[in-house]
């Protein structure tokens, strides 16, 4: 079977070989429509590549590690990143290179091209999944085109494609991807047309921008919009955009450039031109027998059709599945830069002020009713910040992703997470906090008498330096024994922690400045000119994203800590009334009890801890390798703040989700195991920072492993082995 076709060679029987996009383009070419010349690399080439290289087996192994239902959105991204890297690092066979390079170099003759996916399942009338797979614009030279073909192939396994794998019929053994390569037409104006408005069947809709339509498609350039009468093409209404920028080809990609003032005052299309676009959509509709969603561009007044697919209704996501929302948060570089400014310059300082305001309030002076009111107010403040966190801080994490993909494309590292070495070691608040703790621990370590005094429990009088440091620490970071539920042991718990750290010896950060500088230099040396500036800026953005990802937890943790402080004050007052067990009281019950002295809350039933059945025991659990290394030790399963404060040096930290408010014990841990998965989550970041073997994404780990179990953490392979009791 053929591995590559010219668009005009494609026949009706080739549909599954060439995929939906190429098939539609070929149909338009055959019918005399103006389509840029191009080629299609068939699914046969994909199949040849994945079977001859053993890649299919590797994809199977990656997919088999975890049930899809158990995967978090970050794990889907990780999975697709790993698969992408396998494609990047697997060379095509000489036979395949030969088969593809001849037609590519003779057709385009050094001209710049666009490389796009044409999956057999996409663009079918049943479901349109626009934007699941990758496109590359403005690519020059056969080698660069071959490289992008592999990346488009890899995007068959993109995170979003995985999300819709059932609808797409994604199957490792059967799925394949064709690729369209077309000459780039650098139009002065571009856009899309919906032959039928999805919201009103009597209308058609045109959107248009200056420059290439990448700006429109990825949402960075706001388009002008025309609503037309679907029958006649008459303009019903026109919405002007604030025209400021245009996407233009630049090196091997696209950049945004400012518009000239005369352009920004003119709509990108005249009324006659909207008529031209409408006519083309009508022609395509009669050709395909259904209204079309088309991309087009205008160059020197000639209209080119770039793609055409049937209009479909939006797909219904499962309401309780949050993953589509997270995966839709992809942000462009420009967008992330703006977001970063907002977070750094406005949101974080506001959060800090908020926490400080709350901390300065003397709760003891409030009456019971006022305290109840205050708990409610603080809860609302916290909820409001949680909303901001979700809206702004979570999308910011995509800065790391953007950098990671860029780095891997440029460097082809064997470790798909090598890029993290360039992101880490920024000044994270949690690391700064750990350094302050270590400073105090070393005071104890160097003073045997003091250590003995503290070990015997005499914490009343501390040496002045330590006392001051402890106060300063609590001022800045709060009492670490205050968790999500309550403060457990106060200052004594902090001292016990410092004692444990003192015994353990100073933690060593794995990071070496020299290695970082060398890697950074090597990375930047791959670029020159504008591209180098972009790489530098993207690295800076990635580093900010990495740091903020962590810091934001600490900032929101401070506000949460202030809710806890008020709830704790309420609990103390209710406790003084006697006879009511207060330990597990919820905030709402405390508010009620404060307002109503006769209210007696029901004793909560302790939750069933999902006890493992006596005759069933986990032996080996599979997760993801998050920091290489091997560690063996006794497990400490962290379910509450008091578990955290009992943590002993050399134990393995086993938890549901390690968040920055817990990481002060991380330097003491031999290994880290976490239910929550992902390479860019806090647990993985902190483990890499200290070089602690770490496995993340182990389902139900806190019930399958129990405190005291002897476990081995294999951070190379991402497995956790429980020692056998024969």
């Amino acid at each position: 079977m053929k591995q590559i076709f010219a668009l005009e060679e494609i026949r009706d029987s080739d549909r599954t070989l060439v995929g939906g996009k190429a098939f539609a383009l070929a149909t338009m070419v055959r019918n005399g429509m103006n389509v840029p010349p191009g080629l299609c690399v068939t699914t046969e080439a994909y199949n040849d590549f994945v079977s001859s290289t053993g890649l299919q087996g590797r994809i199977c192994m990656e997919w088999g590690r975890k049930r899809f239902e158990d995967m978090r959105w970050e794990e889907m991204w990780d999975l697709s990143l790993r698969i992408r890297n396998i494609f990047l690092n697997t060379p095509m066979s000489t036979g395949l290179v030969d088969a593809l390079s001849g037609p590519i170099s003779s057709t385009f003759n050094g001209q710049r091209v666009v490389v796009r996916s044409s999956a057999p399942h996409e663009d079918s009338a049943r479901a349109s999944f626009a934007g699941l797979h990758e496109s590359y614009v403005n690519i020059e030279g056969t080698d660069a085109v071959l490289e992008r073909i592999k990346l488009v192939w890899a995007s068959l396994w993109s995170d979003r494609a995985m999300l819709y794998r059932q609808e797409l019929g994604l199957d490792i053994a059967k799925s394949a991807m064709a690729v369209v390569i077309q000459e780039i037409v650098v139009g002065e104006r571009s856009g899309v047309i919906f032959g039928r408005n999805p919201n009103d069947a009597s209308q058609a809709v045109i959107e248009a921008v200056y420059g290439l339509n990448q700006g429109l498609v990825d949402g960075t350039v706001e388009p002008d919009k025309w609503i037309l009468d679907r029958k006649t093409g008459r303009i019903i209404s026109h919405f002007s955009a604030q025209r400021e920028k245009a996407a233009a080809p630049s090196h091997d990609g696209v950049t945004l450039q400012p518009l000239l003032p005369e352009a920004s005052e003119q709509p990108p299309l005249s009324p006659e031109e909207t008529g031209m676009v409408y006519d083309v959509a009508k022609t395509a509709e009669s050709l395909f027998g259904a209204p079309q969603d088309m991309e087009w561009t205008l160059r020197q007044n000639a209209l080119y059709v770039l793609q055409s697919r049937p209009i479909t209704t939006g797909r219904a996501d499962q309401k309780d599945d949050q993953r589509p929302w997270y995966l839709s948060l992809r942000r462009s570089f420009e967008n992330l830069k703006t977001l970063r400014r907002k977070i750094e310059d406005a949101l974080l300082p506001q959060m800090e002020d908020e926490a400080l305001r709350l901390a300065n309030q003397e709760l003891a002076k409030l009456s019971d009713a006022e305290l109840a009111e205050e708990i409610g107010r603080r809860t609302r403040i916290y909820d409001q910040w949680s909303g901001i966190y979700r809206e702004h801080f979570i999308p910011m994490a995509h800065g790391m992703r953007l950098f990671g993909e860029f780095y891997n494309s440029a460097m082809h590292p064997s470790d798909p997470y090598e890029f993290m070495s360039l992101l880490g070691t920024t000044e994270m608040v949690s690391i700064r906090r750990n350094r302050m703790l270590e400073g105090m621990a070393s005071m104890i370590r160097q003073d045997e008498k003091l250590a003995a005094q503290l070990t015997s429990g005499e914490n009343g009088r501390l040496p002045e330096a330590l006392d001051k440091a402890l106060e300063a620490f609590i001022d800045q970071f709060g009492d670490l024994s205050c968790g999500a539920e309550q403060c457990t042991q106060g200052r004594d718990a902090m001292i016990n922690l410092l004692l444990a750290m003192a015994k353990h010896g100073p933690p060593t950060s794995r990071f070496q400045r020299q290695g970082f500088e060398a890697l950074k230099k090597e990375f930047l040396s791959r670029f020159s000119g504008e591209k180098k500036d972009y790489a530098t800026e993207l690295l800076d953005l990635g580093r900010a994203s990495y740091r903020l990802r962590d810091d934001d937890n600490i900032y929101i943790g401070r506000i949460k800590g202030q809710v806890v402080r008020a709830v704790d004050e309420g609990r103390t007052r209710i406790k003084q009334r006697g006879a009511i067990p207060t330990k597990d009281l919820e905030a709402a019950e405390i508010i009620r009890a404060l307002n109503d002295p006769s209210f007696v809350p029901e004793t909560p039933v302790p939750p069933d801890k999902d006890k493992a059945k006596g005759n069933l025991k986990a032996r080996q659990l599979v997760g993801q390798p998050a920091c290489p290394g091997i560690a063996r030790g006794s497990a400490r399963v962290i379910l509450s703040q008091s578990d955290l404060m009992s943590f002993e040096a050399g134990e393995v930290f086993v938890c549901d989700a390690l968040d920055p408010t817990m990481t002060f014990v991380a330097p003491l841990a031999a290994g880290i195991v976490e239910r929550r998965g992902g390479m860019l989550i806090h647990g993985a970041i902190i483990a890499r920072e200290y070089g602690i073997p770490c496995v993340t994404g182990v389902p139900k780990v806190t019930s399958l492993i129990r405190t005291g179990d002897e476990i081995t953490v294999d951070g190379y392979l991402g497995i956790v082995i429980l020692s056998s009791v024969r």
């Binding site: 290289t53 053993g54 087996g57 590797r58 199977c60 192994m61 032996r619 080996q620 290489p628 091997i630 063996r632 081995t712 294999d714 190379y716 392979l717 497995i719 082995i721 056998s724 024969r726």
Partner: protein, 159 residues
């Protein structure tokens, strides 16, 4: 894999060896038997055989029970077969039991053995080359070849 070797060729060493090569080439997994303190233990491993049939290879992480057993007692058995879980197995299936001693492959031989192993299981590269994994070489002393349910021949491997 079809058992299409002519019966007559299986009564001589060359014929039997070529049959073993075909079987080992077609089957990806073998059953490994180990023991410790009298307690046998069996599990599946992805295996490969050297062309001279003197060695079988598999990879394991060092924290596993099989590795602990092997460290305590190097005597092992491995079973490779081509059954299809059908009645016709009683007529057509073959099973080969390899008896020998296992050791962790080291030095130059490890490099060669790893090449053999990965050419059969390229997708196990990450697993087999992890610092926590060991590549195990089984020095085969003999093969017991069972056909037609109860017909058994033994092939001794020259050291």
């Amino acid at each position: 894999m079809e058992w299409n070797h002519k019966e007559s060729t299986l009564e001589n060493t060359d014929g039997l060896e070529s049959l073993l090569r075909d079987l080992f080439g077609s089957q990806r997994l073998a059953v490994l038997a180990t023991q410790r303190e009298g307690q046998p233990f069996a599990n599946l491993v992805a295996f490969a055989a050297t062309d001279d049939l003197k060695h079988l290879a598999f990879a394991t992480t060092r924290a596993t029970r099989k590795y602990a057993n092997l460290s305590a007692d190097s005597q092992v058995a491995m079973l490779v077969d081509n059954r299809r879980n059908q009645v016709s197995d009683f007529e057509n299936a073959a099973a080969v039991t390899a008896i020998g001693k296992a050791e962790e492959a080291g030095g130059e031989y490890r490099v060669r053995l790893l090449e053999v192993y990965l050419s059969k299981h390229p997708h196990l590269k990450g697993f087999a080359t992890s610092p926590t994994s060991a590549l195990i070489k089984v020095n085969v002393e003999k093969y017991d070849v069972v056909r037609r349910f109860q017909h058994v021949v033994e092939l001794r491997v020259k050291p």
